[in-house]
């Protein structure tokens, strides 16, 4: 096994993974209610197909896909639809959601399969089934998985890359998936290869997850062309472009897709979920969430029904400590802070990280001293110093000329900036206004 890392720059924040890395995945008790936002994935929000008072079983569809880049949403617990309306959304603000009061007397047992057996399906039907299962990328971006399974016209995919890097600090979701359910991952890879008509798969795992690498190697089926590769620990090793460069030494062209270099990348948790869906016949209604950080009393890796309210989830982990100060959904580098604990867990919620006061003490912003550390950290070789300067003066056009769109908001520049300039935040805002400007022009 080789320790690869061909991508340069990046940063190395302390990973804090020991809080949960050794804890096996446990199931969380069903909460009193679940809230399913209709917008949980990239693309069009799903369209609601239930009404208040309807009784739904686990796995029943409550909203269906609206268009191609969209997936249906399924009830994650048996109960009654009690409310359809606006509900706090993890990304801030309020968004339409379906609230289900969980039936306290239901056994919530596994029911007869809703999805067909994958071996009986051809490629097209398989892709359709993946969409029907509501699968999205579980690494955080929540991009509908079935879309990725059909490479764009004229692009030939030759390799499947499985992303088991989990380079975000604190999170151990993918790690525990690989340790606790390695067979499921391999089955998922098998299904994906079938689906894509591809022979070869590479699994990239950061070297700080030795047990995961070992378990994956042990359980590797003899007939599957899978190679497990250890990668140097470096953020953002798990970003698609970086992973492709590290494993295959190929550069995804600026503005292009992985398919442009013959690759498709899937997160290890998404792959496990696909396998689980076809195993059990149930769509994506629950996921593994790492609840961690010094602000939470009993950190854990939990299987959580999608739609569980954060408050319930945190209560299941012993509640917040007194010095808890910020709740971050996702990893601390790219995740979003959420102040309203009524917001639910979504399909793309990889973890809940609770930071304490001392960890988030706000730092005063100072003038840029042109130290150039941001340039040395940017994994895609932008010049954040210049971009930041342009952003400060609202020169959006100049920013796009300087490759603003190549920025993936990984946060490395903000992390290293000694002057605490919120660079990635400025770039996100600039992207927004550039998008708005484009929209208004169109």
């Amino acid at each position: 096994m080789r320790a690869l890392s061909l991508f340069r720059h990046g940063v190395h924040p302390p990973d804090h993974k020991t809080l949960t890395a050794e804890l096996a995945v446990k199931r969380m008790p069903f909460p009193a209610r679940v809230v399913l936002p209709l917008s949980q994935h990239a693309g069009n929000p799903a369209r609601c197909i239930v009404k208040v008072g309807d009784h739904v079983e686990r796995g029943d569809k409550v909203a269906e896909a609206d268009g191609y880049v969209s997936v249906p949403i399924h009830a994650s617990a048996t109960g009654t639809v009690s409310e359809i309306g606006l509900w706090p959304h993890p990304n801030g603000g309020y968004q339409p959601a379906v609230t289900i009061d969980v039936d306290p007397y239901s056994a919530q047992t596994r029911r007869q399969r809703l999805l067909p057996d994958w071996e009986s399906l051809d490629q097209g039907a398989l892709v359709k089934a993946v969409q029907e299962a509501g699968v999205v990328g579980l690494g955080g971006a929540a991009f509908p998985t079935h879309v990725k399974l059909v490479p764009p016209e004229g692009r030939k995919v030759t390799t499947l890359l499985v992303n088991g890097c989990e380079c975000e600090p604190y999170l151990t979701t993918d790690h525990r998936t690989m340790v606790d359910y390695p067979e499921r991952v391999h089955l998922g890879i098998r299904i994906m290869l079938e689906c894509l008509g591809v022979k070869r798969a590479l699994v990239g795992i950061e070297l700080n997850k030795a047990d995961a690498i070992q378990r994956m190697e042990e359980t590797k089926p003899a007939d599957l062309d899978v190679e497990i590769m250890g990668l140097r620990v470096r953020y953002p090793q798990g970003a698609e472009k970086m992973l492709i460069q590290s494993l295959l030494d190929r550069e995804v062209p600026s503005g292009g897709l992985p398919a442009d270099v013959g690759v498709i990348v899937q997160n290890v948790a998404s792959i496990a979920t696909i396998a689980e869906a076809f195993e059990t016949g149930l769509p994506l209604i629950e996921r593994i969430v790492t609840v961690t950080g010094n602000g939470v009393k009993k950190p854990a890796n939990l299987i959580v029904p999608v739609g569980t309210i954060l408050e319930d989830l945190i209560a299941a982990c012993g509640g917040l400590t007194d010095d808890a100060a910020e709740v971050v959904l996702g990893g601390p580098m790219m995740g979003t802070a959420c102040a309203n604990l009524q917001a639910p867990v979504m399909k793309g919620t990889t973890g809940v990280v609770v930071l304490t006061k001392s960890e988030v003490r706000s730092r005063e912003q100072q003038p840029c001293i042109r130290c150039g550390h941001c340039l040395d950290s940017c994994p895609v070789f932008l010049n954040p110093q210049l971009l930041g300067n342009l952003a400060k003066n609202d020169e959006i056009q100049e920013m796009t000329d300087n490759h603003l769109w190549d920025c993936m908001l990984c946060g490395c520049c903000s992390y290293v900036c000694p002057s605490n300039i919120p660079l990635s935040q400025m770039f996100a805002a600039a992207k927004d206004s550039a998008r708005r400007a484009q929209a208004s022009k169109a």
Binding site: D260, G262, A325, G335, R363, R370, V416
Partner: protein, 342 residues
Amino acid sequence: MSMKLPRLLVTASPHLKGPASTAKIMWHVTWSLLPVWGVAIWWYGPSAFLVVVAATAGCLLPERLFGKRGSLNDGSCVITGILLGLTLPPGIPLWMAFVGGFFSIAFGKLVFGGLGQNAFNPALLGRAFLQASFPVALTTWPAGGGEWWRLRGDNFALPLMRGDPADTVTEATPLALMKWDRESEAAQALGVDDLVFGMTGGSVGEGAAIVILLCGGYLALRNFLNWRIPASIFLSVAVFSGLLHLIDADRFASPQFMLFSGGLMLGAVYMATDMVTSPVTNRACWIFGFGIGFLTIVIRTWGGLPEGVMYAILLMNALVPFLNRWTQPRVFGTGRKKGAPA
């Protein structure tokens, strides 16, 4: 169901922050200058102490008067003051050091908008201003020896008045000897050992080459300065002076001499690496350092002045925006690099 909820913050990602901070960088540089200053005091006595203090005071005053609130705390001003002090002759009247400091900060930094926005290294700009204003005082180098407590010049000359030259026993700097007095005994006796370990005539901070290198090494290890800049300066000085020395050893001094004489060490390690006025891209840093080395040798060899490090750095400072612009990194996924698989 009520859990006692603390007030939660919402900040933008990333929620983790690296260990570096501007104040930390600045104060580290400041602390690392103290040993250099210490060596200077050991050699030049109380004068070295006073000159640095006066220059620093000159820097702090305008920052306090006209600077943004709290900008004194970032430490950059103190660095400018100490660096300026270290480049002055120990015997200079204190009021001149003060004026230099004032000019450094007021015209070298504050008019540009304060920390991070200035185009020229403030300490060197102040030094250049003093050099142009008071050339005699700035080239009067006290000789070594004598009692430690003795002042090395008329430090306490009245403001605006010239120092009393009778107070000073002067000595030529090695570079001046090399340039104009090559045949003299003093020049012949001058070895590189003297430059590295001994005390020669020169500015307050010139003698401590080894200490400067050590401190610079520490800063480079902590990533508080870009090692490429001093590296490329040393390299280009060595290469150019080496070539000239090879061509005519009698006319051109050896590379060792060029490296360890004058303000080269101080300039290369502390002045050229000033983050604000050095390039941000690493490629530009190499060019920047190379240019400084080249210009230094040109001025030292063919110019009218014995020492050129200061001017070389200032000139390259002026080129920095241009260099930054021309050495933008190649953005990931653009340019000639292999795209599709074979």
